[in-house]
Symmetry: C2
Subunit: 197 residues, 2 copies
C-alpha cells in the first residue's frame, strides 16, 4: 500500500482523505503523524551522536535554533544496557511498562550492590550556520526491585537516585528537575540559554 502525505492537521479532513483514498489502495499520513513523516532515524551508538542527529535534522527542516536530547539508562550489571536502546528495550513499540518489566526480569536475584545504574542525558544545541554543541548530564542511582510511583515517565518508577529511598516516579516534578540527568545536562548549556533570554 502506497503512502501519501496530506498537509493538514484537521482530523475531519484526515478522515475524509483516508476514506476517499482507500479505494486507490493509498494510505494517508498527515501532519498529525509528523514524527513518522520526518522520520529522524537515530542511528547513533552514543547519546551524544543521537542528540546531534535529531537537533541538526530539525534545524535543517525548520531553519530555527533547536534543542534535542537523547537519554537512557545504563545498568552496570548489564554492561551498560539498555543504553541508547532504552526506549525500545522490550520491542519496536515504545512501551514504558514492558521496558521496566524486562529490566526487572534481567536483574532478578541481583543484590542491592549489583543494581547500580545511571540515567544519562545528552543535550545538543543546533542552529543554522553555527557549529552544534552537545553536553552530558547524569543521575546516579540503582534499580528498584519493583515499580513504585506514578510521576515522570520511562524508567522513573524503577530508578532510585543515590541518596534517596524513593524512586524518581515518587519524586515531585520539582524534586526530579533538581537532580535529574536532564537537569544536569541543561545546566551545561545554561550560558547559551542565558544569551537567548
Amino acid at each position: 500500500m502506497k503512502e501519501l502525505i496530506v498537509a493538514t492537521k484537521n482530523q475531519g479532513k484526515v478522515s475524509e482523505f483516508r476514506q476517499m483514498f482507500s479505494k486507490y489502495n493509498i494510505s494517508v499520513k498527515s501532519l498529525l503523524d509528523i514524527d513518522r513523516i520526518i522520520d529522524i532515524e537515530e542511528t547513533g551508538t552514543t547519546f551524544e551522536a543521537n542528540a546531534i542527529i535529531k537537533a541538526e535534522a530539525m534545524v535543517e527542516l525548520l531553519g530555527l535554533p533547536v534543542v534535542a536530547d537523547d537519554s537512557g539508562l545504563e545498568v552496570d550489571a548489564l554492561d551498560g544496557e539498555p543504553g541508547v536502546y532504552s526506549a525500545r528495550y522490550a520491542g519496536m513499540e515504545k512501551d514504558d511498562q514492558k521496558n521496566t518489566a524486562k529490566l526487572l526480569r534481567e536483574l532478578e536475584g541481583k543484590t542491592d550492590k549489583e543494581r547500580t545504574a545511571r540515567f544519562v542525558c545528552a543535550v545538543a544545541v543546533a542552529r543554522p550556520g553555527v557549529e552544534t554543541f552537545v553536553k552530558r548530564g547524569t543521575c546516579e542511582g540503582k534499580i528498584a526491585t519493583e515499580p513504585q510511583g506514578t510521576n515522570g515517565f520511562g524508567y522513573d518508577p524503577v530508578f532510585i537516585p543515590r541518596g534517596s529511598t524513593r524512586t524518581l516516579a515518587e519524586h515531585s516534578s520539582d524534586e526530579k528537575n533538581a537532580i535529574s540527568h536532564r537537569h544536569h545536562a541543561i545546566e551545561q548549556i545554561e550560558d547559551w540559554l542565558k544569551t537567548l533570554s
Copy 2:
C-alpha cells in the same frame, strides 16, 4: 519571552524542558506543536493558491509527494464570503461553532432563495522536482436556518446540499464522501492517484 524548539514528541520530556527552561524566560515548542513550528502562512487569496502554498511548503520540508487541500464556503448573499477565510471567519482561533453562529447571524431574515452557497475544495498535488497541479471540486447547496447534525466538521451542520433536505452533518461519512466538494476535487486527481497505487 524567547521560544525554543525541543525536538521531541515525548510529552514527559516536553514538560521537563518547559519547567527547566522557564527560569531562563524561555518558552518551549516541541514536535507536538509542529504546525506552529512549520507555520505555513496561507497568504493566497484563492483556494487554489493556498492549496499550492501548503503542498509545496511540505514537499520542500519532506522531499516526498504531498497532497494539500484548501477549502471553504462561498455564500452568494455575502458576495462569496467567508471564502478563503472560512476557518477563521469569527476570529483568529479556528472555532467551528463561532463560525457557524456568525454565518447564521449574517443571513438572518434571508429567504430560502437568498441562502444559496457552495462548498469549494482545491486539491494541490506537489512532488519534488515536478510541476505542481491543482484541481477544484464544488458542492452546491444552501445555508440552513439553524445547525443540525453532528457528523463532519466546519460548516457541515448548516449546509444543505442541493437535492437533500438534511445538512451535511446529518449525512453519514459515506454519503458525504459521495457528494462533497472534496470528493469532486479528488475525482479530478484520480488519474494521478491510480499511477501511485
